[in-house]
Amino acid sequence: MSETLIAKPAVSTTTPPEGERKGLTKKEIAADHPTWCPGCGDFSVLALYFKLIEKRKMLHEKITTIAGIGCSSRFPYFVQAHGAHFIHGRALPFASGISLSRPDLHVFVFGGDGDAFSIGGNHFNHTARKNVKMTYCVMDNWVYGLTKKQTSPTSPLGFKSKTDPWGAVDYPINPMKQAIAAGATFVARTTHTNPNHVLQMMEAAMDHDGFSFIECLSECVEFYEGAFDSSNPRKGGVFNEIPKNHDVTDELAAYKLAGEPFPGHFGIFYKSNKPTKNAKEAEISKSLQSKVTGLKDWQILQKNFDRMK
């Protein structure tokens, strides 16, 4: 029987066990110098991804970084590891294809608010509800940056852009509410100005067995400067972590937290342990394979052909 869903590819024997292994250094894991503007919040997310890889001693060949299109979606070029820069809005189904056929890989998807909630909105909902195992980090800057300042699905009402010179008129998407309603099993919010918190959320997301979603506020200094100042203590704002007594399994409480006015709270809003799509598909396969135990692939097919004679 072929080894696809069920079995993991053999780990290279030259790899030392995790305890003796050193984490990859920034030098080993950094590739191209980012094309982002100086001061862009995305630099901080990239640096913390490197830190996560180092801290968690990930195997170099198992890291898979996927993105769609947008400023933040340039991410894979800056990471010295396997990766793909896919088309606009479709990073999640692409990553699902990897996740569902390769349980041995760490699948990380990075993108922006346009990619996630506008052109890719449908995929966001369905990947969340299917609970495909991966980590999705959306660097939300409330504006289209790569195309130079058009209204984004998360732009607040009144935001003046090139497509809304009089101020945005469409009600923005609330990413936390969207994710909870869609059935995401790990929903967290953080901001690029608090590196420790970003790393903490990334680690928790990575450890979650399922679709883990992080909204990371990431300021666009070029087209939406100061958007998140009220969440940044260094700019006179407040960074409020989610209250200790919040029950992350309480969907309604999470939804209420998500409805607070900006800057709201940061941390894990919602988490549940529903079985993943990966596990369910593997279960189906295991059950059907048990009926053809001991048969080679061609013999399984032969059984079908025998019925067509």
Binding site: S12, F94, S96, V292, K309
Partner: protein, 607 residues
Amino acid sequence: MSNATTGAPSSGGASKVSSINEVVIRIAGNSQDGIQAIGGFLARLAGRSEQEVMTFMTIPATISGGASIFQVRMGSGEVLSSGDDADILLAFYQHSYEDHLGSLKKGGIVLYDSDHVQPKPELQGDYHHAGVPISGLTVEAIGGTAKDKGKNLYALGLIAKMFDLNVPKLEKLLGERFTGKDPSILNNALAAFHAGYSHSLGNILETFKFVDAKKKDGTQVVMNGNEAIGYGLIAAGVRFGAGYPITPWSDIMELLRRELPKYGGTFIQTEDEIAAISMAIGGSYAGRVAVTGSSGPGISLKTEALGWAVMAEMPLVIIDVQRGGPSTGMPTNIEQSDLNIAINGGHGDSPRVVIAPANVEDCFYMAIEAVNIARKYSVPVILLTDQGIATRIEAFVEPKLEQVCQDISPDFSPVADHKPYDLATKDGITTHVPPGTKILSGKYPIATGLEHDELGHPTGSPKLHMLMTAKRRKKLQALGASLPVPKVYGPPEGNVLLVGWGSTEGPIKEAVDRARAVGDSVSSLHLRHLNPLPNGLENIFAGYNHVLVVEMNDEGLYGFGQLGQVLRARYCDPKIQGINKTDGLTWKVKEILERAKTNVAAGLRKI
């Protein structure tokens, strides 16, 4: 019906037995009557009797109800098409009778359900009429509650009697069909069948007996084109795919969803067409060539991601079961109008491979070929079939699965260094190294839709764009050069060469046979590789005065169908002309011949 020993059926008179080589039976009713089941039983019986068989069906796009037909041609010799005109029409309703009598040969037999059909006196002279109260007798045979259920099997019994079909084999087929269900269902089915079989058609009709078929090499399997593709992909080693339901592609995704888990794989039903191709590409990227597919509008939706697979040089198989277009078009009708989108669909210069199976057996083997081309050339391959071939049932010699099935499990052995878009390779062919592979140099590849350097990192360099564009083209040219020159059917020189592609091979070959039988100089050529084309076609064309491209698509603004345009562009030969139609139906042999004659008589068109 070609009679081997005797003349045409006698009118009236005592019943007699005639030997026949083949017969075309058209069954007309509504979509919920189970007429596909009758046709399916006949086709499988023919397959088990070493006979040739081909079927043709139309199903309405409506969910339930609506007129539906199934035509089956079975015979002891070679069967190339589903037949122009029927020898026997089985009509369940008045509309079936009135709409389909025209497709019955003069002197043919119309067998009708006299509970629903009022035959027209003025037609009695042209066709042998045989009325049987099929509905009433079915209810009588299997009980009043059964309503119309089972009348298809009653009719199957009538046909079995008329053609002296092998009853034990049919009983076995019924047993297999109704296996595992409530035993009373099988008993009812057999009761209905036997009631029909023992019904006396009186002495108004003769009965027929097939002459013995020539011994085939090995046993035959009977399936339709969609099934052959699904099983071909499994034999090829495909274990992952994604799709979205659309007619007539859905059967393939249902089959893969059902079967792949047995092999440790899976097939995912996605939220939309774009997600389907994206997920399949993700599966390919992960290491094992994956499949997606669609029909009509679904193919249009997939083109952006298809362009990514071309740019990123990712292996992928896309099945396009063509239907009538544009837009929602004619979902359950046949058309060959997706060749343009298959070859050129999408923005930018995006060369990809397009191949088209000509019959059901081809569907199986070309699914494997598609996978192997995709892997070898790191390119998306579109397997172009159509509604006709998808639902057409044919018998073919059973593949030797132990030899045919291949293992394409990815290799994750570490590599010293890897350039995914290496410009130094011969013919531009590079291979994809999947994630999980350790790259000892520490330089990892990025798969990308941006124009890129050899490692996959973005570039704006005009020189690199030129080199990479040429690389993506050159590997297809290398594939083209490796393709075998297709064989001409008929003499290599003559007046007319009919050129076809896809599901039309059978009727075109039959047209050649029929034309040659009356002394016309006609040969044919069937193309399976459409992009790239094989080399050497110009030498074949040189042997004929007229090259007529037979296609089920529009003649276009300039008078040529979609393949016609490609051949014109490549060979700049004014003798290449088009024979096109857009009625949503398969070619009849006589249609091809009439159109060819008109075309040749008109001389070369001035353009």
